[in-house]
């Protein structure tokens, strides 16, 4: 399979970097794929970056996060790399938190992030080592 476009961008692992990294992914993606896939890529990037900043970088760090996008002939690969020694990984196939609108106290206020990633990406791979982690997400166009 031939890689047709490769793109990567890096920024400090801070909360205020996330929107900029997402915007860079959105701009790179929207030139090559559908609006739906562009949103799925930005959504997965945002949730992954949130987890890294909050958990691997404990709220923020000047260590870099690098986000990459490769557009191939029938798939798009998103990679997110950090340099935290104890990176956040988490399960690859968590279920969406159950919603019971009639039970106010049980409505979940969190726990959506990894489930959103699992729903929107077609495959998820997380590799963590002493020098950080590399998370790879593969996407395909989805027809309505």
């Amino acid at each position: 399979m031939n890689r047709t476009r490769d793109f990567s961008v890096s920024a400090p692992g801070r909360v205020d970097s996330i929107a900029d990294l997402c915007a860079a992914i959105r701009r790179a993606a929207m030139a090559a794929v559908s609006a739906d896939l562009t949103w799925r890529l930005e959504m997965v990037a945002a949730e992954t970056l949130n987890n890294i900043v909050e958990h691997a970088y404990h709220g923020g760090s000047d260590e870099l996060i690098t986000v990459g996008l490769s557009v191939l002939s029938d798939t798009v690969e998103l990679t997110v790399c950090d340099t935290a020694g104890a990176s956040f990984t988490g399960p690859t196939c968590p279920e969406m938190p159950p919603i019971n609108p009639e039970s106010l106290a049980d409505l979940p206020e969190g726990g959506f992030g990894l489930a959103i990633i699992a729903e929107l990406a077609d495959s998820v791979r997380r590799e963590a080592g002493p020098d950080g982690s590399r998370q790879t997400f593969v996407f395909r166009e989805r027809r309505e």
Binding site: I18, D36, A46, L104, L107, E109
Partner: protein, 114 residues
């Protein structure tokens, strides 16, 4: 529209993103706006084009604080943010409206019925 209907608090989200960076500010603003007597809340999301799980969490948190199912009306929400609400099945929790004026009467009825 009666004065009572217009008394439903309206929380405007002034950002294009409701995400990890902004969600805590929205929670703070929402908590300042509502009190123990508030039974309905309108959240104007017409400027928002991206919501992440942190933004969803704050909307759920405000819903629980105000009073539960359909107590919060989301105004001006459009795709792809609307797709995220459906994906998480939170569309069963919120009420939706195109404009604040259209949302106010139903929000006021929700407040009265609880």
């Amino acid at each position: 529209m009666s004065g009572e209907e217009l008394n439903t608090p309206v929380l405007v989200v002034p950002w294009s993103r409701l995400d990890l960076a902004n969600a805590p500010k929205l929670r703070d603003n929402g908590l300042k706006l509502i009190n123990e007597c508030t039974r309905a809340l309108i959240v104007d999301l017409s400027k928002v084009d991206f919501i992440d799980s942190c933004g969803l969490g704050v909307l759920v948190s405000l819903t629980k604080r105000v009073g539960g199912k359909h107590a919060v009306t989301l105004v001006g929400l459009r795709d792809p943010a609307l797709s995220l609400i459906r994906l998480t099945r939170l569309d069963e929790v919120f009420r939706f409206s195109d404009t604040v004026l259209a949302a106010a009467p139903a929000a006021a009825r929700t407040g009265k019925s609880q």
